[in-house]
């Protein structure tokens, strides 16, 4: 036997071939396949990341989202009364975790700032190994975190975000939104406004100067103009202006007879309270009673507006007073746990957590590829909003939209809004191409 032709190079080549052939069978085992996607769970747990505002102006909404998400984790793990798992039609989830793994969670603080939200999401993905991020109370933050999740190969189940851009111009393959959007608010609210206030109206918009405000102004303007209203003027106001008097007084002499406040949160409370102080609701213009409209209500914030909100129209994604099994089940378990009814921010986050779990369970994997395929064009029912479709083309949920009105005689601080109309899904559905944007490819690598 001659060994002198086996030099170092040949030996290495031969060992490499041997090594690969020895390793081959393990490619088909789950332990190795788990490395195929980012943060594949290896232990007995699967981690969710709850990225909610815990400080800053939206801290109270963030706290409510966190309450709901903790409840969702309890229910998924089989603790508590099961909440909406009992009413979620056709789900394989049984309260025994997801695919045999127990759900755990970590939390982060978005501070309602895009950079802080991205930093805390990044920490949860890289350090805590979360597979899915949910929560949030601002469209600016949602768009930023969604694009981070796309880059990082995890799923983003958006919390409260109402800008058209989240599932429009800035949509991503890894991002999903259960909450409704500004376009739907316009389509739902327009006819109700025309019926209540007539078709010959002159509107003046005050708009929060960021992505959500712009898309809402455009959507409401288009919807009301289609009904015959005229838009006198649209004015952008800086976020957190506090005193809006300098923007409100010009409305009084503009000839407008409707004021539309495209404000959310603190800005909404301040501008609405001040508009009422300036006597706008007692005013007559063009022979008609002057009216104020707040297209997107926040119940938690409405408590801050006090009496000013009475009689004012707006829209909502969900309300705890709805008469359906899912809503009743959720309100019951939330109320018993925390002594207060859930807000719409809480409901949307709870549902998002359940839907993600449902998608993993039906797909049989935590791999984003399978999860996304399971969520796209998913039709579900029993989660409080009636029959709902997760549209595959833009990852936006389609379901009835609520038109709500500030109650004249509320029983308590949780009873501020009444549902005036449930606008059917068909009336708020639109062609996904109108907002542009591309979903792009699935991302599942870290």
């Amino acid at each position: 036997m001659k060994f002198d032709n086996i030099n170092r190079r040949v030996f290495l080549r031969a060992s490499a071939v041997a090594g690969v052939s020895l390793a081959t069978p393990t490619i088909f085992t789950s332990a190795s396949r788990a490395q195929d996607f980012c943060n594949a769970p290896t232990g007995a747990n699967v981690a969710f990341g709850f990225n909610v505002p815990q400080t800053g102006s939206y801290a109270d909404e963030g706290a409510d989202e966190l309450r709901a998400l903790k409840l969702a984790v309890q229910h998924l793990n089989g603790e508590g009364d099961g909440g909406m798992l009992n009413t979620f039609k056709g789900t394989p989830l049984k309260g025994s975790g997801i695919l045999g793994k127990k759900v755990s969670f970590v939390t982060g603080d978005t501070q309602t700032k895009s950079d802080a939200a991205r930093a805390s999401a990044k920490r949860m993905i890289e350090k805590d190994g979360v597979l899915m991020i949910t929560g949030g109370s601002s469209s600016g933050v949602a768009v930023a975190v969604q694009s981070l999740c796309q880059e990082s190969g995890v799923i983003f189940m958006a919390g409260l975000t109402h800008s058209n851009d989240t599932t429009g111009k800035d949509k991503k393959k890894n991002g999903f939104r259960h909450f409704f959007n500004a376009y739907m608010s316009g389509q739902a609210l327009g006819p109700v406004l025309a019926e209540a206030y007539g078709k010959d109206r002159k509107a003046y918009h005050l708009t929060a100067d960021y992505t959500w405000g712009w898309t809402q102004e455009e959507s409401i303007k288009n919807a009301t103009e289609a009904l015959g209203w005229e838009t006198v003027k649209t004015v952008r106001t800086p976020l957190g202006a506090g005193d809006f008097s300098q923007y409100i007084t010009p409305v009084l002499n503009s000839g407008a007879d409707v004021l539309i406040l495209n404000h959310y949160g603190k800005d909404m409370i301040n501008s609405l309270t001040q508009a009422v102080q300036f006597g706008m609701r007692d005013k007559q213009v063009n022979g008609k009673d002057f009216q104020i409209v707040v297209p997107l209500f926040s119940e938690l914030m409405a408590q801050g507006a006090g009496d000013a909100i009475k009689g004012i129209y707006g829209t909502a994604n969900w309300d705890w007073k709805l008469e359906n099994d899912g809503t009743k089940a959720f309100t019951k378990s939330f109320g018993q746990e925390y002594g207060q009814p859930p807000s719409q921010a809480a409901q949307t986050c709870y549902v998002q957590a359940l839907l993600y779990a449902h998608a993993c369970e039906t797909a049989g994997t935590f791999n984003p590829e399978g999860v996304i395929a399971a969520l796209e064009d998913l039709e579900f029912d029993g989660l409080g909003n009636g029959p709902t479709l997760y549209r595959g083309a833009d990852h936006q949920c389609f379901k009835p939209v609520l038109v709500v009105q500030g109650k004249e005689n509320p029983k308590d601080k949780y009873d501020l809004l009444q549902v005036v109309k449930e606008v059917p899904t068909a009336d708020v559905t639109y062609d996904p191409s109108i907002f542009g944007g591309e979903l792009g490819p699935v991302s599942n690598k870290c």
Binding site: D60, P238, N270, F278, G304
Partner: protein, 341 residues
């Protein structure tokens, strides 16, 4: 003309708040030479004293009624207001006038808080650089904010003006402009309140012996000390008065903007600009600059102006500050020697 009048009133109103905050800031500069970044937080504390008084007047007893159920199936709570149960209609009136009443509470609390803040924290920073003073007072402001947020939450809390003073006044008719020009009563009250407060502080400094000594101390601390006067103690009290004025301004402001923990920060930066434009340490300058910048900001927000120069409402104050500082580096009424080492 109507629009002009309304924006003038808006500006004076805003200017009133700026002036009251800047007044205290400038007194701090002038007497103790301290840059107090917690001054906005004192305004916020005052606002929350009004909230607290309102809450105390609303205190209720809670009993559980097992016969009634909440929508989520737990026994309902029955709330009975305490003050009204004790005092009847008078209790209800007290609640309606909670904002003016809260001034009675705010005066001693804020005065004491100001003195405690100066004795407990600020005095250790007299000989340290201004950057250290800024850091420590800014830190204090953050602590105060977080404490308030812990107890009152992050959302704004509405406090209503007395019913007799809510709604709008027919300003147009008073001035003979014809009907249709209305302005909220409480904003007129706030404007008058700020003018009276400014007048009282200036009168106190200008026309009392006590105030004269303080002014002398601002000019030349050492000489006043040589005359056997404990000028430091007077300066401490002036600091307390500054805190008190900020607190009262905050309490009265609550019906205009529902306060939240961040209210002070919203005013702080602008108030500093007001002080710098008015002239460091000049009380009259701060008041003048406060009203001036408030009015300018309002006029810059008029649609006619914004159509010509978009976004001008956001920057006008800073533009004017730059121009004034270029022409008069010590500000409108600044004097030589203050904050100039």
């Amino acid at each position: 003309m109507d629009a002009f009048l309304l924006q003038l009133l808006n500006g004076l109103d805003k200017g009133g708040a700026y002036a009251l905050i800047a007044l205290g800031l400038t007194l701090g500069f002038g007497t103790l030479g301290v840059v107090n970044f917690a001054h906005g937080a004192l305004f916020m504390l005052g606002a929350f004293i009004a909230v607290l008084v309102n809450r105390l007047l609303r205190l209720e007893t809670v009993t559980i009624d097992p016969d009634q159920l909440t929508p989520w199936g737990t026994p309902a709570e029955i709330h009975t207001p305490l003050v009204q149960a004790w005092l009847g209609d008078f209790g209800a009136v007290l609640l309606q006038y909670s904002v003016p009443l809260s001034l009675l509470v705010a005066v001693p609390i804020m005065l004491l808080f100001g003195v405690a803040m100066e004795r407990g924290l600020i005095r250790f920073f007299y000989r340290r650089p201004h950057a250290d003073q800024i850091l420590v007072t800014f830190g204090l402001a953050i602590v105060l904010q977080e404490v308030i947020k812990h107890y009152f939450g992050a959302n704004p809390i509405p406090v209503s003006a007395p019913p007799a003073l809510s709604g709008s006044a027919n300003v147009g008719e008073w001035l003979g402009l014809g009907p249709g020009v209305y302005y909220p009563w409480w904003r007129l009250v706030y404007l008058s309140f700020s003018i009276v407060m400014v007048g009282l502080v200036i009168a106190f400094l200008q026309f009392t012996t006590w105030g004269m000594v303080v002014r002398a101390g601002m000019q030349d601390r050492q000489t006043v000390g040589f005359l056997g006067i404990n000028i430091q103690r007077r300066f401490t009290i002036v600091f307390g008065i500054a805190a008190m004025v900020a607190g009262m301004a905050g309490a009265m402001y609550t019906p205009i903007v529902p306060p939240d923990y961040h209210l002070g920060m919203d005013f702080l930066v602008l108030s500093f600009v007001v002080v710098v434009v008015g002239g460091m340490g000049s009380v009259a300058g701060a008041v003048l600059a406060g009203f001036l910048l408030g009015v300018l900001q309002s006029f810059a927000s008029m649609n006619e102006v914004k159509d010509l120069l978009p976004g001008i409402d956001q920057v006008v104050i800073y533009l004017v500050a730059v121009v004034i500082l270029l022409v008069r580096p010590r500000g409108l009424m600044g004097q030589r020697g203050i904050m100039e080492d």
